[in-house]
Assembly symmetry: C4
């Protein structure tokens, strides 16, 4: 009974399925912030409904923000498993810890939306995202260290490129934590920049590259 | 490190899994509109329960409508990925934006059901569906423009056929927005026609076709 | 552009994924019936908690019943797609209608649990299961008629065997509707027999068979 | 019509998908314990919010515990299906019964968190985990007895190894039930040791092994 039968060589499809399921439910749970859902006031007038819906603007903004943040995490997760070819116990464990903080995002987004003028609510969300980002950064480091779970000839530049990309959310989180100290409402807004930073970073890094002999990912 | 390693050539299975998960949860969330679920009144008499269930009729109608609309969106999504063979960052981003409006459908269906006599509630639902429909129309245009992410020899008529099909929900939404202005209760009802329009459109377009040399989709 | 490119030949993996997702969420939603979840009374004494948990007995019984019913539906769905090799628009539509009634099961189970002494609550659950069962019976008939979506040489006895199996839930529902008229509490209990009927039916039908030249299902 | 067409030889992908979906939803449902989600008190002061968040500490601890327990169950499930190559009716039935107790975990974790000073709440959680663990232990025994559903030449030591691993949660549960009798707050805490026991057990069992002629799992 070789070690690899017990701890390594597991296919990646199930951890991808569990993660996709958790991301899907967490993204759908973001609508919980719309309190109106849980307590419909029947018999309200049209004017009253317009007022009630206008009061949902901050909730809608936080919904959009939460969705984009979860979407960005999902995309990084997707990219990581594009290159990760097999899993082991440790990787599964890191992944589950990361998902534990992903599931908290609808909760902390909801708190940050309902108490948008308090510093502690902003910090709760930003700390949540900082930790989640760091866990998935660690996830990539573990998988690629010594090319443990990726193709043995994977281009080193790809490893570095995605390591840096996975640091974007933690770095934005540190910035947001500082900004929230001075301007509580501006901290969470910083995350709306994440997709643009991702695109900008990707474009600038790939602009003057030429096709190289890098390893093609193994169908992962 | 070639561009295609960073931004393109991703398999489609994960975005399909995420989307299927979100559609599944959103469809199940539609039962939230049945308020009785959240506040059971124990000790109610049989007559009282019948009255309470009768009061659920509008909720049931909106549940059926929401399910059919989400089902129609899912089917278009399914058809699109029947032909889309790989994804890139932009397609994933468009998809996530589209899913963001899909997740809102249980919410706006619930509001439209609880306030079925107010114009603003009908418009909320119709605008939601209009935007979701346009995003997935854009999704198909992006994937097929220059046959970017589909088979290089995909029949042009298939591209046009599905582009038109994806315009059906947006066009019905525009009609519903206008109808709601005059008859608030009739706007949302228009969507019940969507499956029949889809079937009618498909039958009329394929009636006098003959098998051609169109590309067979690559198992997508 | 041949017809089969538009309406047929779709892979079955996505409708299986959507269905698995909906079954998974519906099965998890069954815990909604435990009202204690939604309104924890902190500061309750140990004796008070025991009383509160004892009051959950009927909810627990209905939870078990709902889970077994949903599990039985899922198994029939699984068996059907073991033989169904491709889908078309009509099958997807039948499936979505069936799922619409599957999603209602946690709702009607919850009502039947909370109002277990009223006939209308029992009938609600039983009618729900009757319709869901009939839709999936129709689903199998459609897929196998003229071997439309199954292997062209699929053994006729397999088609009949599963057609009969898919009639078990509707038949039990008719019996339960009648029983509920006389003894309201016994109707829903009948469904606990479904797994045993399924096992009994399967054993008796396969006991004196010998391996035949039936078609092996195509990996479906 | 051979027996194996009716009862055996089903692919494992769908029961894996259903299980992954249920695990994903159950893990996400753990946030239900954060009562603040369901009843946001707008207009609260920053100090009041800090107090409210501090009151969530026990909930957070139980959330982490619930997530780790569900994660451990999922990993054992994953390992089992790494070796199980096909399913039959009985295995599906055992699996569904097991999932029935998995779905209860967010409920009993929530109760154990809200009533952390009552013995009955601790016992509820521990009994839940004991039964879930025993069902999945039985699941493995059934699949491997006579190598019924695994590779015919699967190494006997692998069968024993995972049988023992699947006994860890039940054994910890028995210990926790006893500990809760004397020290109610310490029983549930024992489960935080599960990941470490799993790692310790795996390391000690595989330390002085050499690669052997054990069967490679068939891609399962």
């Amino acid at each position: 009974m070789a070690n690899e039968h017990l701890n390594a060589g597991l296919k990646t499809s199930r951890i991808e399925a569990l993660s996709d399921g958790i991301f899907a439910v967490a993204m759908t749970f973001l609508i919980i912030s719309f309190d109106i859902l849980l307590s419909p006031k029947k018999g309200i007038s049209e004017k009253g409904l317009i007022v009630a819906l206008q009061a949902l603007w901050p909730d809608l903004l936080h919904y959009v923000e939460g969705f984009i943040i979860l979407g960005a995490f999902w995309m990084e997760h997707h990219y990581q498993f594009h290159f990760i070819q097999r899993t082991d116990s440790t990787l599964l464990f890191i992944n589950i810890i990361g998902l534990m903080f992903i599931v908290l995002i609808p909760f902390s987004t909801c708190v940050a939306g309902d108490y948008s003028d308090t510093r502690v609510a902003a910090w709760l969300l930003e700390t949540n995202l900082l930790i989640a980002g760091l866990v998935f950064y660690l996830h990539w480091l573990y998988a690629t260290a010594g090319r443990r779970l990726v193709a043995p000839n994977l281009d080193h530049r790809i490893i570095v490129f995605y390591a840096h990309r996975n640091l974007i959310v933690p770095l934005v989180s540190v910035a947001a934590l500082i900004v929230s100290w001075f301007q509580v409402r501006w901290g969470p807004v910083l995350y709306l920049m994440v997709p643009f930073i991702l695109i900008f970073y990707t474009i600038t890094r790939t602009l003057h590259r030429t096709p190289s002999d890098s390893a093609t990912p193994g169908g992962g």
